[in-house]
């Protein structure tokens, strides 16, 4: 025993190194949401406060571009509501019916920390449990998809950015209604990849991709990006499509968090199918 202790003491520099590396690797590998939320829960009061202060200072420098984006979004929304549309149908009747109920509600949130350089990127938002945010809510901005909420504390939430290797989003090519899956292969934060589109459909550069609404998380029809490069990997029957994200993930400021009011019902239904 004394020899072992003497041995460890002699190489204490090496053993301390190994110990610290082990702790780090355990922290990296422990990617379960529970562990992650325990760690962030303990720290995020502190880091969250620092980031809130900092983003209040820096947001002034981007007010102009943010205003322009909001104005153009307003214009787009004006077009959608009735006064902007020519009504040809005179029998425009509104019935107060549960069939016309609302499925999604939107909460605005401010991005207070963000990264795009890592293989797995996360975004911190200034809304949390107190504002009704829970796990698995979709996040997007007026340009397009941004990510999914993965952990929530009282005042803040962590969003798994689409720039993450665990990203899998159901999407479709609007012109053809073809369904595929969005993933991110790393590299440029401007380029995503759409998989699972069968190699017989005719896709063109510039086709738009938006969410399909099949995932219970993202509503249908939120813009994802435009097709840039189309190719088939050898031995594959499906296209690999590189597309440019419509949202600039590097300059996010305000985003919308989506709450799906019928989520539980949809989940319940699909659970029943699996059980049978």
């Amino acid at each position: 025993m004394r020899y072992i202790l003497a041995f460890i003491w002699r190489y204490r520099f090496f053993f301390l190194f190994i110990l610290l590396e082990l702790i780090s690797v355990v922290l990296i590998v422990n990617k379960s949401y529970y562990q992650r939320s325990v760690i962030t829960g303990a720290t995020d009061g502190f880091t969250g406060r620092i980031y809130t202060t900092w983003s209040e200072i820096t947001s002034y420098f981007r007010l102009k571009s943010e205003n322009e984006r909001l104005a153009s979004e307003n214009a787009r929304l004006w077009q959608k509501i009735t006064p902007g549309q020519l009504t040809t149908d005179t029998a425009n009747l509104r019935v107060k019916d549960t069939l016309y109920g609302q499925q999604y509600t939107f909460t605005v949130a401010k991005v207070i920390s963000n990264s795009t350089t890592l293989r797995n990127n996360y975004i911190m938002l200034n809304k949390g449990k107190r504002h009704g945010i829970v796990r698995d809510m979709a996040v997007f901005n007026s340009d397009g998809i941004v990510g999914t909420v993965v952990s929530v504390t009282d005042n803040f939430s962590w969003v798994m950015s689409i720039l993450n290797q665990h990203t899998r989003l159901s999407a479709r090519i609007n012109r053809l209604n073809q369904m595929g899956t969005i993933v991110w292969k790393g590299g440029s934060p401007a380029i995503g990849t759409l998989l699972d589109i069968p190699a017989h459909v005719k896709i063109k550069r510039g086709d738009t991709i938006s969410t399909s609404g099949y995932s219970h998380i993202f509503p249908e029809g939120i813009m994802a990006g435009t097709v840039e490069k189309i190719y088939v990997e050898s031995g594959d029957h499906f296209y690999t499509i590189d597309f440019r994200f419509s949202a600039d993930l590097n300059s996010l400021q305000y985003v919308y968090i989506v709450k799906n009011l019928l989520r539980d019902e949809q989940d319940e239904l699909s659970k029943n199918v699996v059980n049978e």
Binding site: F17, S24, L27, I50, S115, A190, N250
Partner: protein, 170 residues
């Protein structure tokens, strides 16, 4: 001891603040991120005991991690870098006498020495980050590209910072 380290303690906190508030938001070409905070590890005095070197590097990396939700990534890279430091100092030519109150820096050790010393250590640091972050060798080209550019950018920042603050320390 009490007096010798206060500058390093201040540097520890200033560099973390600089890294998480400013540099983590600098993304040249999308995915190249300078890690100036390792300047702290480079500048620790030669006579720093091994345990202090490793532990301070660990907490340095961990603090940066807490702000970017990459828990453990920067800590692992920093500890690795700190572990290599004594070896690199021996290889790069240690100062003749430790009594002489020499510090690792351009002022005392010369530009060539400091350049080589920083280059090797920063590259080791970036290598661990690139490997652990990707966690797969499929993207070997990407990893290499990121390694090279992040290393060069960090090295440039370290040398510039060293030049700016060199006169003060003499």
């Amino acid at each position: 001891m009490n007096n010798a380290y206060w500058k390093d303690v201040v540097r520890f906190f200033v560099l973390i603040a600089l890294q998480v508030l400013l540099l983590d938001h600098v993304n040249m070409g999308g995915y190249i991120n300078p890690a100036l905070y390792v300047f702290f590890i480079l500048l620790l005095p030669f006579e720093t005991p091994g345990w202090l070197l490793l532990l301070s590097s660990f907490f340095l990396g961990l603090s940066v991690d807490l702000f970017s939700n990459s828990t453990g990534l920067n800590a692992a890279a920093s500890v690795f870098m700190a572990y290599l430091r004594p070896w690199v100092i021996r290889r790069a030519g240690a100062p003749a006498d430790y009594e002489g109150n020499l510090k690792p820096g351009i002022a005392d050790m010369g530009l060539r020495w400091f350049f080589l010393y920083s280059l090797i250590l920063i590259m080791a640091h970036q290598l661990i980050i690139a490997l652990l972050d990707a966690f797969s060798f499929h993207e070997i080209g990407m990893i290499a590209l990121r390694l090279i550019f992040s290393t060069l950018l960090t090295l440039a920042l370290v040398l510039i910072t060293e030049f700016i603050f060199m006169r003060q320390r003499k």
